[in-house]
Structure formats: structure tokens, C-alpha cells
């Protein structure tokens, strides 16, 4: 993943490693110092490495998820398309024949290694009769010259062997599986409304030509044309010319643009008469790359919180390490070592840690990726119940491993280098005598000036960002401007007052920005959420850190008790209070990860709570959509679906017809967009009502009035909110009700101007109508569709409103059985929405699981800090034991201390997440309009808090035990 980033990352990696090597080679003292520290302090070295291993693991795991999706979609594309790289389709058999003749000249082209013309249609297929009958309402049927197919594109065409004779058919194993059919069985095909039987000559694997376009049955040339003529209707099979590029299944795609241009040139005038050249493999591969990148980015986004937690752990451990070495550092400075050399020594040491951690992190990342892919594979399988699904196959590219290694190394290296600069600023005497840090040293005047200037710059940037409702800038710049103002303010006002006011201001803005600027999340950028989470958590922790004393007053009765518990509590709270930086870093680690986890949990429950509303939006009062084969249309659907054996169960029918259209001229969408143009009769607005997100008020006061106007007047259309979108959220919609667009029939070139009368709240009921599953729906009146698209408009679907109490499941099964000859497929709309929700829920859980890795970092970090604290406080513990503190009180003090910090961080994160999600909820017009209450999943949050708290306690159990075992005489080091 992210192969475009590899050169930059590898360049930075090389620069960092070379710089470190140069420092080590040129400075023998620095080198010796760094390397001996590592070997002398192996436990500490292990702790630092642990801190950054998980960060790299999360990065590599995220990239692997992207790789896997990319690979899996590619494999599916290769398997389904085989050697087919381009497809030339014509609207009529005659034009198809002309196209085939024109393209024959390209057979000798070096870029092309196969051209094959086939005819294709859709038909229902059944095996057997009576109760044991098995049917497939929508199978692709192809007539093809088997000899030509065998030679098509070399050896991998996927359709070889002898041509089936009259009354025979070859089927692929997918269709055979659906029908439980094997060679020798007799199948009934419903072609163009007439039934015909054929014996299965053989079953072939579903790949290449034998899997193309969902095809499942293969006849000898002439079969489909003859069937269409016998049926006497106007429907005819589609003529396709398939092209295979030189280079095989995977390599052929490289020449796709070149070959497509040659094909268009060869087709000449036919391209303007409805003959089209598609590059299905290139499109699928591009979609695969995009989907892989998007999913990988999503995991990287979720993982970024854990990565930040890892960085903080690294800072914390390194600062503690430096504190322990303070007397040594002081001595080194005293004997003349410059600060720069100290920094270089730390950098060499840190680079070794970073290299080891990045290497181990890559290995751990492989494990993380594997687990995520295993879980995701199950979710993807459930996504695909209706559309063939996607088999996720674990895949790792060297690019991802290199990128992950480089990112992990660079993050750890930069963290260590920056931390080193801070810790090298020791006061020599204080360091030698191991006195507490000076703390609160005044910043030099030039830095105050620079920081104030930076505040002005950030302030200006904030002004612009907020005015434009930019997501990241609206949160980041005001926070940076306020922070950069602090050095000046602390010269004028008390430090605590400044930081309290600053953190309150940033926190208030973080929580309230969405209310002041409601469109701040409209760009759909995940970075906005990362910045928001970081800004909120950092400011809240700063606020708490500055005012811990106030919070601790709540515990005064506990602390003042002259009991072992009281003394333990007193100690437990004294240390976090005295070590504000360390405590703050742990609080941020916990707060940040818990914030995101709880936010995801709450948002998940908000989404879940909206399932009924989503069903209502998606269904518009209809329960089932039936799609039938335009080649064998259901005549009089309104009469046949309401009457007969369905009487009393179906209350209303809204017939739909569809055509392929092309939309241009929409604001913000410069390229033409393919769309499924759906024609509906006025019945659609009478039998049910699809809610609109936006409507053109001049057409009526409510949604129904607008629908009636659209279904009566061909000048108006209704769009869904995803037309022309490529992945961003609904916020990226660039068109509004009242905008105009141009709708073109690509077959005839006939274009008409339309006005957007409304934007659908949910297009599920219109998605993929008939054969046209390639674009978002555009709904217009049936009359308007017929007038513009003529023969291209096919009656292909209907929406059914059920009588109260009628079972949609039973009805759907009955409908499919009754109208098998029409290839009728009945889709239960509620079931469709619920499947989506179930898959979303699983996906949320997967994200939560992935994010929980961040909690592991937080908990491990707390454990690491407590291990260090025990070492650091040996002497104090010795004194306490000498004064008469029981061992159990010492242990309890350490456990209470870690619990106090962990709980504070957990509650901080959880509280912020609930407030943030509530504000998001309050600012969402759609949710507010629905009138649903804000659902807080208290049980899930309580479990999360409890599990995290218990895990934190467990992580500090060992250090607490070690502290309790300290022998006073040894700890005090009272030696003669």
C-alpha cells in the first residue's frame, strides 16, 4: 500500500540511519556511551523497544488490511474476467455484427491476442418439477463459438472443449451449484418468455469466459438469436465483442488504454451510434486499488490514536530513563561534554532502539494484520450475500512492509531525538546532586517573541479556516494559536491561571465548533476526527493536570483516615500530583484511546438506534422490490401482482422502468456520470412515499407534493446523494435542489435539461434496478423516460406495498416461484437494510478491536511506568517500611496509584466521547428531525471501563508486589 510514499519514506529512513551512523563513527565517546547504556540497562532497553513495537505493528497491520483487500478484489477480477480486457457492446445485433467486422482487422495487432464475438442475455433456469424444483431466476446465458473461445487469449480463456450440440448446454459450477445440476441433467431455460429445455453437456469452472458478466450457461452460436426470433418479441440478445490484450490475464491490462483507443478508431462512426468500448478489468483493478487504499487508510486512521499513545509511551519511558541517569548526565556536562554531544548520544541509543522496535514491529504487524483479515473476511462474506461476495485472501506486499518499517522507525526516531533535546537541558549541579528539576523556568525573550508571532500566524490561519468551515484547520489552528500565546501570558499572569484558561478555551472550542460551524465535518475527512480527538484530550488533560488538587479534594476524607488504606491513598495520590508530566502523558494515552473507543461505541449505537428510520427511508412504505427480465417482461404487473394468489397480501404496486443515462452539467462534477434513469408512474407517490433530504419548495409544501410534481412533469428529476461520488461521505454532495443538469441517452445522443426537484434520503429501493447496476439512480416520470429514451427504456421492476400482517419473506419466495419464467427476483427491503446494519455493526466491532490495541499500549505503558516508579522510589519505600509501613500498604499504594491514573484517564476519555457524540448528534439535522433520543450504550461503556481498569490493575500487580518486597535496609543502602 502507498507505493507512492515509499521513495520518500525510504529516503528519510536512509537519511536518519546514515546520520546516526555518521554520529556513531565520528564520535567514539558518544558511540561508546550509547551502546554501553543499552547493554548496561537491558530491562530499560526492552521497555523502550516495547513502547514502539506496537506502534509499528499497528501501522503494518493497517497496510496489510489494505493489501489484502486490493489483492482479493484483483484476484476476483482476474478470475471473473480471465483474459478479457476490453468489451465492445452494441445496442442491436446488426450493429454488433458491424462492430465485429470492423474489429476483425485488429487481430494482427501486437497489443491484441484475441477477439471474440458473443451474444448474451439473461434468463431464468430451473431443474426438475414440483416441490423439489430448483430455480435460478437470473442466470447469464451466452452463445459462443467454442472453438474460437478455446483459442481466445491463449490458453486461459476458461471455456474450452467441444461445442455443445443442439439441445445441449455447458454450465459453470456456480450455476450448477445453485441448481444442484450435473452433466446429463435436463434444465429448463426461460428465454424471452418461452421455455426451452437443454441437457447439461458438462460443467466448467467459473473463471475467465466461463465466469464473464455473471454468465452461467453457454450455448452454441445461433441459439439465442433463434430463441428471440421464435419468441417474436422485440427483445434481442446483446452482441459483445470481447478483446484480450497481449500479456496474459494480469499483464494485459497495461495496454488497455492503448487498445481501447485502437478499438474506438476501428469502430469509427459506430461509437456515436451506441456502440461502446469498456475496460472492465482496468476499472475493477482501479476500484480494487482505491478500495484497498481506503480501507487501509481507515485502519490507519483508527490506529493513529494507538500510534500517538505509543509515541507518548516512548516519550515517557525515555524521560524516565533520563531522570534516572541525571547524575551521570550532570557529570558528563561537568567534565566538559557539550549538550549537542549528549543529544547525539541519546540519538544513537534511540536509533538502535528504533531499529530493533521497527523490525519486531513488522513481525508483530504481520500477526495483527492476519487477525484483522480473519475477522474482516467473515464480515465481507456477510456483505456479499446478495452480490456474490468477496473472498478475502491474506496478502502482504513488500511495499507495505518497507513502508511500515520506515514509518515505525521514523516515528520512534523522531520521538527519541526530540525528547533528547528536552532532557539534555539539565542544570549541571542539580543533576549531579540529583535534586528535583527546576520546573517552570522562564522562556528566553526571543522564544516568547517567536511564539507570540506564531500565535498571530495561527490566529490568522484559524480565522480563515473557521470562516470556510475547514475541518482540520477549524480545530487545529485555534488550539495552536492559543497554545503559542501561553509563553507571553505566563509572563503577565499566574501560570496555573493561564494554563487553566487556555485549556478551557481550547476544550470549549473543540466541543462547540460544530455548533458554531455546522458544516465543519462536511469534507468527510478522517483527519478532522483525529485532530478533534487529540485537541480535546490534550486540553482536557492539561486542565485536569493543572487542577488535580481541586479534584483530589473529593478524596480528602479517604486520605485523612489514619488507617493503612488512608495512608495508601495519600501516597497513591501524592505521586501523580508531583509528577505532572508523567501523569499527564499516561492520562493522554488512556484518554485518547478510550475517547475513540467510546466515540465509536456511542456512534455505533446511534446508528443502530436509527435502523427503523433507515428502513422507513429506504422502503418509502414499500416492503419488496421485484426485478424481472426485460427480455421477458411481466405484463400488467399492477394487476398480476395484486390479484390471483397474491390477493390480500399485496396492497399496492408501483411499476418502474429503467434506462442507461449520462448526466452532465451538475455543479462540482465536471465529468459525465453514468446513471440509471428510473421512470416511475404517479402510483409511486400514492402507494408510498420516499422521504427527501432536500426539495424544491416551489413544487410543493411537502415531499409528497414534490414527488407528484416530478412524476407528472418530465422536466424534473429526483437524485440520490451519491451521484458522481467516489468514496467521500454525504457531505461531499455538490448539487442542491433547484440545480439544473443535462440528461443524455448515450445510444441516441438525445439530451434534455432537467431540474433537480429533490434529493432522496435513501436510494436503496432504486439501487441496481433491472440490468443497470452501474450508476446511481435518477428518478423521473415514466412518460418522460419513454419520450427521451424510447426503446432504451425497459419495464424491469416494481415496488410492492404489503397488506398489514403479510410476511415479506413468504411473499418473496412465492413471487420468485410464480414468476420464474420472467426471471423475477424479489428483494426484501427491510432485510437488505438490516443486512447492511449487521455488517456495519460487525465492522464497528472490528474497528473497536483494532483500536483496543491502543489500550494495550496504554496499559503496557502504565505497567512500564510503574515498574520504573518502583525502581525510582526504592529509597522512599525503604523509608516508609522503616517507619512502620506494612508491606501490604506499600503494595496497596502502588495499586491505588495506577488505578487512580487509569481511571482518571478512562473517565476523561469516556466523558469527552459522550459529550462529543452528543454534540454531533444534536447538530445532525437528520437525527434531530427523526426525533430519536440520544442513545448512550451505558452497559458497553461500563464493560469497557471495567475491563480497562482491571487490565490496568493487573499490569501493575507485579511492580506493586516488587515494591512490597523491598527490604528497608537494602533500599536505604545504609552501608559502612
Amino acid at each position: 500500500m502507498y507505493s507512492n510514499l515509499t521513495p520518500v519514506l525510504v529516503g528519510l529512513l536512509a537519511a536518519a540511519v546514515l546520520a546516526t551512523a555518521a554520529i556513531a563513527l565520528r564520535g567514539p565517546v558518544v558511540r561508546r556511551l550509547a551502546l554501553r547504556q543499552i547493554s548496561r540497562r537491558r530491562v530499560e532497553a526492552a521497555l523502550v523497544v516495547t513502547g514502539s513495537v506496537l506502534g509499528t505493528a499497528i501501522i503494518v497491520g493497517s497496510l496489510i488490511v489494505g493489501d489484502t483487500l486490493d489483492f482479493s478484489v484483483r484476484q476476483t477480477a482476474y478470475q471473473r474476467l480471465g483474459v478479457i480486457d476490453e468489451v465492445v457492446s452494441s445496442s442491436t445485433p446488426a450493429q454488433g455484427q458491424q462492430a465485429a467486422e470492423r474489429l476483425a482487422g485488429l487481430r494482427a495487432d501486437p497489443d491484441v491476442d484475441g477477439i471474440l464475438t458473443v451474444r448474451q442475455t439473461a434468463a431464468a433456469v430451473a431443474k426438475g418439477d414440483g416441490p423439489g424444483r430448483k430455480g435460478e431466476p437470473r442466470a447469464g446465458v451466452l452463445e459462443v463459438d467454442f472453438a474460437a473461445a478455446a483459442a481466445f487469449g491463449g490458453s486461459g480463456s476458461g471455456l474450452t472443449g467441444p461445442q455443445p450440440g443442439p439441445g445441449q448446454v455447458v454450465i459453470n459450477d456456480q450455476l450448477a451449484g445453485a441448481l444442484d445440476a450435473r452433466a446429463g441433467d435436463t434444465l429448463t431455460f426461460y428465454l424471452y418468455g418461452r421455455s426451452t429445455t437443454a441437457r447439461v453437456a458438462r460443467v466448467v469452472p467459473t473463471q475467465g469466459l466461463a465466469g464473464y458478466g455473471g454468465s452461467g450457461a453457454f450455448f452454441a452460436p445461433g441459439t439465442l438469436l433463434a430463441a428471440a426470433q421464435e419468441a417474436g418479441g422485440r427483445a434481442r440478445p446483446e452482441t459483445l465483442t470481447l478483446v484480450s490484450n497481449a500479456g496474459g490475464v494480469e499483464g494485459g491490462n497495461a495496454a488497455s488504454d492503448r487498445v481501447a483507443a485502437k478499438l474506438r478508431a476501428a469502430l469509427g462512426p459506430l461509437t456515436s451510434q451506441g456502440t461502446e468500448v469498456d475496460k472492465p478489468k482496468q476499472e475493477v483493478l482501479e476500484e480494487a486499488r482505491q478500495a484497498g487504499d481506503e480501507l487501509g487508510s481507515l485502519f490507519l486512521f483508527i490506529g493513529s490514536f494507538a500510534i500517538i499513545a505509543g509515541v507518548l509511551l516512548l516519550v515517557n519511558v525515555f524521560v524516565m530513563l533520563a531522570e534516572e541517569r541525571k547524575p551521570e548526565l550532570g557529570m558528563l556536562r561537568a567534565v566538559g561534554m557539550r549538550r549537542g554531544r549528549l543529544v547525539r548520544g541519546f540519538v544513537v541509543e534511540g536509533a538502535v532502539y528504533a531499529l530493533v522496535a521497527a523490525s519486531l514491529g513488522v513481525l508483530a504487524g504481520l500477526g495483527v494484520g492476519r487477525v484483522v483479515v480473519e475477522v474482516a473476511a467473515r464480515i465481507f462474506a456477510s456483505f456479499g450475500e446478495d452480490d456474490g461476495g468477496l473472498d478475502l485472501v491474506f496478502s502482504v506486499t513488500p511495499t507495505s512492509l518497507v513502508n511500515g518499517f520506515a514509518m515505525g522507525f521514523l516515528i520512534a526516531f523522531a520521538t527519541v531525538a526530540l525528547t533528547s533535546i528536552r532532557i539534555s537541558r539539565v542544570n549541571i549541579i542539580a543533576a549531579i546532586r540529583d535534586l528535583p528539576g527546576e520546573g517552570g523556568r522562564r522562556l528566553k525573550r526571543r522564544w516568547v517573541v517567536a511564539s507570540t508571532l506564531a500565535a498571530a500566524g495561527f490566529g490568522a490561519a484559524a480565522w480563515v479556516a473557521v470562516a470556510r468551515s475547514q475541518g482540520v484547520g477549524s480545530y487545529l489552528y485555534p488550539a495552536l494559536a492559543t497554545l503559542a500565546l501561553c509563553p507571553l501570558l505566563v509572563r503577565l499572569l499566574p501560570r496555573r491561571a493561564v494554563y487553566t484558561a487556555t485549556s478551557l478555551a481550547v476544550l470549549g472550542w473543540g466541543l462547540g465548533a460544530n455548533t458554531v460551524r455546522p458544516r465543519v465535518f462536511d469534507d468527510g475527512s478522517t483527519t478532522t476526527f483525529i485532530v478533534l480527538g487529540v485537541v480535546l484530550t490534550f486540553s482536557a488533560v492539561l486542565l485536569v493536570s493543572q487542577n488535580q488538587e481541586l479534584l483530589l479534594r473529593l478524596f480528602r476524607p479517604l486520605v485523612r483516615r489514619p488507617t493503612a488504606s488512608g495512608l495508601a491513598a495519600r501516597l497513591a495520590m501524592a505521586y501523580p500530583l508531583a509528577r505532572r508530566f508523567r501523569t499527564g502523558a499516561i492520562l493522554i494515552m488512556y484518554g485518547l484511546v478510550v475517547f475513540t473507543l467510546v466515540l465509536i461505541t456511542v456512534l455505533g449505537s446511534v446508528i443502530d438506534a436509527g435502523v427503523d428510520r433507515a428502513v422507513a427511508n429506504a422502503a418509502g412504505g414499500y416492503a419488496i422490490r421485484v426485478d424481472y427480465n426485460p427480455a421477458a417482461p411481466l405484463t400488467d404487473p399492477a394487476g398480476r401482482l395484486v390479484g390471483g394468489r397474491f390477493a390480500g397480501r399485496v396492497q399496492g404496486v408501483a411499476p418502474l422502468s429503467a434506462a442507461e443515462g449520462r448526466v452532465t452539467g451538475l455543479p462540482g462534477l465536471p465529468k459525465p456520470i453514468d446513471s440509471t434513469v428510473v421512470g416511475a408512474t404517479p402510483a409511486l407517490a400514492e402507494q408510498g412515499l420516499f422521504p427527501l433530504d432536500e426539495r424544491l419548495d416551489r413544487l410543493g409544501r411537502d415531499d409528497r407534493a414534490v414527488w407528484r410534481a416530478v412524476l407528472a412533469d418530465p422536466r424534473y428529476v429526483i437524485l440520490d446523494q451519491y451521484l458522481g461520488q467516489t468514496g467521500a461521505g454525504p457531505g461531499a454532495v455538490t448539487y442542491r435542489a433547484g440545480d439544473a443538469l443535462t440528461l443524455t441517452d448515450p445510444r441516441t445522443g438525445k439530451a434534455e435539461r432537467k431540474v433537480i426537484a429533490g434529493i432522496l434520503a435513501d436510494d436503496t429501493a432504486f439501487d441496481g434496478i433491472g440490468e443497470h447496476s452501474f450508476g446511481s439512480a435518477l428518478i423521473t416520470s415514466a412518460r418522460g423516460l419513454r419520450e427521451q429514451f424510447g426503446g432504451g427504456a425497459e419495464a424491469s421492476a416494481a415496488l410492492l406495498r404489503l397488506a398489514p400482517g403479510a410476511s415479506d419473506q413468504a411473499l418473496a419466495a412465492d413471487l420468485q416461484g410464480e414468476f420464474l419464467a420472467n426471471s423475477l427476483v424479489a428483494t426484501r427491503i427491510r432485510h437488505l437494510v438490516e443486512l447492511d446494519y449487521a455488517a456495519n455493526r460487525s465492522f464497528f466491532r472490528l474497528l473497536q478491536g483494532f483500536l483496543a490495541l491502543g489500550l494495550v499500549i496504554g496499559i503496557a505503558g502504565l505497567g512500564v511506568v510503574m515498574v520504573r516508579a518502583v525502581r525510582e522510589r526504592r529509597r522512599s519505600v525503604g523509608v516508609l517500611r522503616a517507619l512502620g509501613f506494612p508491606a501490604s500498604t506499600v503494595r496497596r499504594a502502588f495499586l491505588l496509584e495506577s488505578s487512580f491514573i487509569a481511571l482518571e484517564g478512562i473517565l476523561l476519555g469516556a466523558g469527552l466521547a459522550i459529550v462529543t457524540s452528543y454534540l454531533l448528534f444534536k447538530n445532525d439535522d437528520e437525527l434531530q428531525a427523526a426525533g430519536s433520543a440520544f442513545p448512550v450504550p451505558w452497559l458497553s461503556i461500563a464493560v469497557l471501563v471495567a475491563v480497562t481498569a482491571v487490565a490496568s490493575l493487573a499490569a501493575t500487580a507485579w511492580p506493586a508486589r516488587q515494591a512490597a518486597k523491598i527490604r528497608p535496609a537494602v533500599a536505604l543502602r545504609i552501608a559502612d
Binding site: P436, R561, R875, S876, V879, L880, L883, G884, I974, D976
Partner: protein, 243 residues
């Protein structure tokens, strides 16, 4: 827990045949070799001897901070090493106070909080404990430093806080290990003067380990050690040192 006014017959502390061996990498070093010592109530005993003679080991073993390899130690008639660690710890909290060379105050607590620790350990409620701590700090001349943390105090001030802490619960015996080792001469004189004053005025039993002949010479009883054995035990008229 006021032990200083008790006038029970017999010595406060009795050590009989105390033996302590350090084992490092297979090498055994006998730090105390069957040592006997008795300390009466109200005594100020100075323990002197060259480095490695076992002075600090003696203090650690007699106070129960460290285990012994032989012999027994009775404080107020109770054998320290016949008790469990928990009982010994509790006994220590009631009967002993400690003054260390490097002060060893709890860095995250204020002076008053450090001083009140032994009182709280002995179950004194928070308010009277704080009042006593403040009084003790005033007694050692630090009434104005009550709310300061150790990092904000000079070495001499820290040691005076340590003394206040050691005496706050009115222990039977105070152990002081090189209490002036980290102080300049003037500050050292003040600290030793304070200990003498407490011993003289309040009858506080004090055992102090020192290198300093001046400090040792000022004590009422001087015990000399060499190679883990007592080689001298002199009763002397204490010098008149005061703050």
C-alpha cells in the same frame, strides 16, 4: 504512643550474640560476630568505628530493618526476630524513630505531611496528627516551613524535618545513622545540639552512628566497633551542646 516517660526496670534494648553474615557471589563476610549490647532508657549512645566495622549493620539489625543470622534482639522485652515481618513492622512503628544521613524524606510530601506519617501509622486521627506535626516542626525551628516540600528545603532543614519525624510519635528509641554526614559544621552542630537537648530534656533514648569524633565524644556513652565486634564501651559525661 509516648514511650519516653516509661520508667520500667531493666534495659530498653538488649542484643545478645547478634550475628550477621553478608553473602555475595559465594563469599561470606561476617559483619557482626556475636555482638552483645544493652541500652538503657534515656541514654544517648554513640557508635563509632572505622569504615566496614559494622556500625550501620548493627543499627539495621538492632532496629529490625535487617534480619540477623544468629542471636536475638529484645526491644522493650520483646524479641524482634521472633515476630513476623508484619508484627515487627508494627512494633517498629510504635517504638522506633529513624534519622538517616541522606534525610530520606518522602519527596512528594510537605514537611508537615512527612512528620505526621508515623502518627497516622499509629492511628492518630488526621487533625491531632497535623497539630502534633506542626508543633514538632516548630520545636525544631521549622514552623515557617510546614508546607514546603523537601526539594524546597536546605540540607540542614531537611535533617531537622527528619528529626521531627523521628520524634513525632514519641518512640522509645531513635536510631540515627550519620545524622550529620551530609551537613556543614555549623548545621551539624545545630542538629547534634537538638538531639542532645531532646535527650536531656525529654529523656529520649537515642543511638547514633557516627564517624565524627566530636559527635561521638559529646554522647553520654560511646561504643566502639571494629571488625563486627564491640571493642570499647565508655560511659562519659556528655558535652554541653545545645541549639
Amino acid at each position: 504512643m509516648d514511650h519516653t516517660d516509661d520508667h520500667q526496670p531493666g534495659p530498653l534494648l538488649v542484643a545478645e550474640q547478634v550475628r550477621k553474615v553478608y553473602r555475595t557471589g559465594g563469599v561470606e563476610v561476617e559483619a557482626l560476630s556475636g555482638l552483645d549490647l544493652a541500652v538503657r532508657r534515656g541514654e544517648l549512645v554513640a557508635v563509632m568505628g572505622p569504615s566496614g566495622s559494622g556500625k550501620t549493620t548493627l543499627l539495621n539489625c538492632l532496629s529490625g530493618l535487617d534480619d540477623v543470622d544468629g542471636g536475638r534482639v529484645l526491644v522493650e522485652g520483646r524479641d524482634l526476630f521472633a515476630m513476623s515481618d508484619a508484627r515487627r513492622t508494627s512494633h517498629r512503628a510504635r517504638t522506633m524513630g529513624f534519622i538517616f544521613q541522606s534525610f530520606n524524606l518522602i519527596p512528594v510530601f510537605t514537611a508537615a505531611e512527612n512528620v505526621e506519617l508515623p502518627l497516622l501509622l499509629n492511628g492518630v486521627p488526621a487533625k491531632p496528627a497535623r497539630a502534633t506535626a506542626v508543633r514538632m516542626l516548630e520545636r525544631v525551628g521549622l514552623g515557617h516551613r510546614v508546607a514546603h516540600r523537601p526539594g524546597e528545603l536546605s540540607g540542614g532543614e531537611q535533617q531537622r524535618v527528619t528529626i521531627a519525624r523521628a520524634l513525632a510519635a514519641r518512640p522509645a528509641i531513635v536510631w540515627a545513622d550519620e545524622p550529620t554526614g551530609n551537613l556543614d559544621t555549623q548545621m551539624a552542630d545545630q542538629v547534634i545540639g537538638l538531639l542532645h537537648e531532646l535527650n536531656r530534656q525529654e529523656g529520649q533514648t537515642i543511638v547514633l552512628v557516627t564517624h565524627d569524633p566530636g559527635v561521638g565524644g559529646s554522647a553520654g556513652r560511646l561504643v566502639r566497633m571494629r571488625d563486627g565486634r564491640l571493642v570499647g564501651d565508655e560511659q562519659r559525661r556528655p558535652a554541653r551542646i545545645g541549639v
